[in-house]
Symmetry: C2
Subunit: 430 residues, 2 copies
Amino acid sequence: MKEIRLGIAGLGTVGAGLARLLRQQQDLLRRRADATFPIVAVSARDRSKPRDAELGPARWHDDPVALAHDPAVDVVVELIGGAGGPALALVEAAIAAGKPVVTANKAMLAEHGTRLARLAEARGVPLHFEAAVAGGIPIVKALREGLAGNRIERVFGILNGTCNYILTQMQESGREFTAVLDEAQALGYAEADPSFDVDGIDAAHKLAILTALAFNCPTDFAAVHVEGIRHVSALDIQYARELGFRIKLLAIAKRTPEGIEQRVHPCMIDAEAPIAHVDGVFNAVVAEGDFVDRTMFSGRGAGAGPTASAVAADILDIAAGRNAPTFGMPADRLEKIAASPLQHHVGRYYIRLMVQDRPGVIADIAAVLRDEHISIESLLQRGRASAGEAVPVVLISHEAKEASVNRALAAIARTSAVMEPPRMIRIEQL
Amino acid sequence: MKEIRLGIAGLGTVGAGLARLLRQQQDLLRRRADATFPIVAVSARDRSKPRDAELGPARWHDDPVALAHDPAVDVVVELIGGAGGPALALVEAAIAAGKPVVTANKAMLAEHGTRLARLAEARGVPLHFEAAVAGGIPIVKALREGLAGNRIERVFGILNGTCNYILTQMQESGREFTAVLDEAQALGYAEADPSFDVDGIDAAHKLAILTALAFNCPTDFAAVHVEGIRHVSALDIQYARELGFRIKLLAIAKRTPEGIEQRVHPCMIDAEAPIAHVDGVFNAVVAEGDFVDRTMFSGRGAGAGPTASAVAADILDIAAGRNAPTFGMPADRLEKIAASPLQHHVGRYYIRLMVQDRPGVIADIAAVLRDEHISIESLLQRGRASAGEAVPVVLISHEAKEASVNRALAAIARTSAVMEPPRMIRIEQL
């Protein structure tokens, strides 16, 4: 029986979850992999901190890089987090030492993925990262191996459980973003500083990785258009429902004639679409391939258990010698694909204006849209206001270009009857 | 660059789809796998039949076993179908010849899976079968590798697209089973002889494979309880909707204190559950693991493109040397788990009776249920009938034992006021 000796850096929630999994599933893993997986070395910021997990007789390293050099360690598991710093130093050191790496670090892969893939391949070392995208859902393996016979046309998903939880709560309770965020923080579903999640950055990191896997191109985090959910209002959610939509924060990567579009933003999607029913902290990824057509994968996108499940799968792959090129293709064959600018995006748009309720306002707005060649699919104006009060006007456009919509919204915002900045939410055709 | 020379036996829809995939994705596969995949030999029943696919200069074998022995063939792809006969002979010959096998044959694996796994392992030959379950959805890989850190508690799914199409159409149109089946046959969604699909056998084959993968036990097709959808009526579908359920043909394998329950039957499921929204010919599989919690995988379960996608993934795995034990564990470690008898199943039940509309009938029925310790969660009696006509009475039970329910239904059927055999549909708690 093989012995795969693990060095784990980072002993937070996920590290503790992994230690628990390795202990609890010891017999099962032995039978499945014909191997044991002792944790022989660990590293974390604060040695004195009480740990959830019983780590046994593992050697302690204050410096994670020392863990990579520890001759007792066969496989390095990086659970520190952060794009650079100690996590990156550890992974580089492990690769240089010829040791397989398992990491859950989306920020690092989004920003340094291609370079790390090159280093790992040059050294002949596997670099696995199932836990970096969509937690327990084995989507990295699905794209890299399970769907490898396909040319992928679009991949998109709900990649941030905090945002999905907040939007689901807003939907169910009718409350505003800030109220639901406060509650989510109290419940531990959102961080004290929630910006990484609610501003879409976390989802964008994950999207950059999915894009590289789906299209076999270098990771290009800088090319991701990122919008979060702070501007989604209870009113928009209510209108979405009336119009047969749901609002979800989607991360979308799509081939266009100009290249690859990568974007994270709130979307209106058909309420009947399967992904519209992925609620709460659940994540989902939809991959569309030319032979397989549409496939969807859903599950828990975060948490100790699901993330440990993904890390364990990577460790088992390494034990079995099941390797695949980091982004589905050897790094030197990854082809840079042009970033398709969002201004060229074509789609339908939901536009909400708060206007004075007086004759001629709709005519003025319609004229602006006409001048930008944007045609209106539907228009809703509900209720009447007393003088000086704003009433909402909601428009759904036919397919239009983002640049035209932006120009139209700027012009509309300058109209005297428009009392608040216009709100726009893209409609994603599923 | 490696050359993996393929021998394909069976040139129906899937064989043609695979040939098209290999031609169309030639460049992509070369970049991804650093290999080419020429079809060097083929075999099919009728040589004179015109073929969708351009097969190039492949050598023709009338006898599939000869294809296995063809020295030009590196990997054997079995797309003949059928549990035994030429398909089984081919796979056995290929394994004996030390050649990796890719098969889409669920019936063969359900009935001979464990034995073939043993043969393949003894010979050190990979035996891959992603296409055998849920078409293009990479669920075999997900269970065998992606979720391998988990103890699976339950796996279930919609595994037959024909049944799901029929139930979806019944749901949408309010029509009866036979009318929808006729239409499905005309559209090519159902076979001329539909019994394999609509009687649940196809789903049961796939379930037997999923069970072995999920629980690392030998395949045990004989232990699967199988019911099809012929008895689902438009009336039941209408009641399901009223009660907040959907009716789906589910294939379910579950750990119970007594062993493993394997069953295929129409289920009432919560209309809000994600799998309730998997409609038409789509398939879905839900796997519940102790660490990952619930994951769901959905996509097209049949058809040339999706099935070819799954077969291609297996071929790419073989090219890359990515191997995993056939059922997630070496065959000699698969542990026989007792079959948990359906009579011991505990769950909620939907019961529909057609009764004479006269006083005392409900009291009689309630007394029978009481005698079997079955408590009623809700009861619906709608509309009044003229003398002699039957009215439906619908009951939802609290949790009860299958054996008790069966006894109660038999007793109820004997009641003079009950005019048709009682209908029962199990409610699956998701």
